[in-house]
């Protein structure tokens, strides 16, 4: 069964790669301890012989069934994917960026200057940019982009940063050498432009003094927070932000759609990676039967037959 993975994050791995890549996990069978990102890398390696496809940095918005036929999925970037079976392994929901409360910010989204994640740094070469935030993400991107952009302003609400000390030092050096403009104790106040972002107004949070910075791009980096998002619109049975499933095979109320991992719910559900693995196994066998009705299925063990590459 050929698989194609779509995720809103720019990398695979969900919470493990996004929230806690360097944290050790102690409850994966066979691994007394394994770092979260290492587990993800191993899983990617294990899936390689089956040549899965990946569409990353895009969110599935629409999910429709063509009569009795295939499902058609559409992403926020207009990518269309057709599939016989859809498996939702969305974890706690789609990681959506936390947006600052700045009036009119939405009018500059979707290619007009405001972005909440950086997918292709080259896009910013020679441009004027404002990055807002104080976490590791804001520091790391400032360090990386300082050499690419024409002008970079980093604005942070506090007096100091509490990120990785190396990163904090590098940012302070960049500010001292004049390579970036560092604006502390300040917030984003407003944005303006004619159809496209042209400037960002910053406000000092004690003196209330404002300062307008010319900008082609504004990247607010205030972390990500999971939301069920478009999944709520797909006519699935949902209970407390989780998808109800049949524990025979983790299918949902819509034939051909399954839900596995933290995104599903059933009596005695445990939100463990281990449970996700088990649910995936049962789901896969059911999906095969669904796609090949009437075909007699024989299970083969990898210890006997090895792994046959696609």
């Amino acid at each position: 069964m050929r698989c194609h993975l779509i995720d809103y994050l720019p990398q695979v791995g969900g919470q493990l790669s996004e929230i806690y890549p360097k944290k050790p996990i102690y409850d994966i069978p066979g691994y007394p301890t394994v770092l979260a990102q290492e587990l993800v890398d191993n899983l990617v390696e294990q899936a390689k012989p089956f040549h899965p496809g990946y569409t990353l940095g895009e969110r599935i918005e629409g999910l429709e069934k063509r009569g009795e036929g295939d499902f058609v999925l559409t992403t926020n970037m207009g990518t269309i994917i057709e599939a016989k079976v859809v498996v939702i392994a969305g974890g706690l929901g789609c990681f959506e960026p936390r947006k600052p409360a700045v009036a009119g910010l939405e009018q500059f989204e979707n290619g007009r200057g405001v972005n909440y994640m950086i997918l292709d740094p080259e896009k910013y070469r020679g441009q004027k940019m404002v990055i807002a935030g104080g976490g590791d993400s804001a520091l790391d991107w400032t360090i990386f982009l300082a050499d690419i952009v024409d002008e970079l302003t980093l604005v942070h609400r506090s007096e100091s940063f509490r990120g990785a000390p190396d990163s904090v030092n590098k940012v302070m050096e960049l500010a001292e050498s004049g390579k970036i403009n560092l604006v502390l104790n300040s917030n984003l106040n407003s944005v303006s432009g004619n159809g496209k972002l042209e400037s960002v107004e910053l406000i000092h949070n004690k003196t209330l003094e404002t300062n307008v910075v010319a900008a082609d791009h504004l990247i607010p980096l205030f972390g990500l927070s999971p939301k069920l998002g478009p999944i709520e619109q797909w006519n699935l049975n949902i209970s407390k932000s989780a998808i109800e499933v049949n524990t025979d095979d983790y299918s949902t109320n819509i034939p051909g759609i399954y839900a596995i991992g933290d995104i599903n719910t059933y009596t005695n559900k445990l939100k463990l990676i281990l449970c996700g693995f088990h649910e995936a196994a049962l789901m896969s066998h059911s999906a095969y039967q669904y796609m090949n009705p009437g075909v007699k299925y024989t299970m083969k063990y990898t210890t006997v037959n090895g792994v046959s590459e696609f």
């Binding site: 944290k23 409360a101 506090s158 205030f222 972390g223 927070s225």
Partner: protein, 84 residues
Amino acid sequence: MGLSLMEYLKACEYDILATCGGMALCATCCVDVLEGEDKLNEMTDDEYAMLDTLPDVLPNSRLACQLQLNPAMDGLVVKLHHAE
């Protein structure tokens, strides 16, 4: 090993996400302390750094996963930061 405020709120089925499971890595368990702020353990750098990433953090915001429940907290009143 005692309970954190986050674990207790989750066990009581309050609408609190706690995506990272309690490692001060996601800020989804943020609470605003309405009474009893002085009864709480001091904020660590990790907690401060995570709270700092929230665009609408308040001076009395804390991460519930970093508050270990103990009798000295009697009388604490908090509001879920992300509650609508």
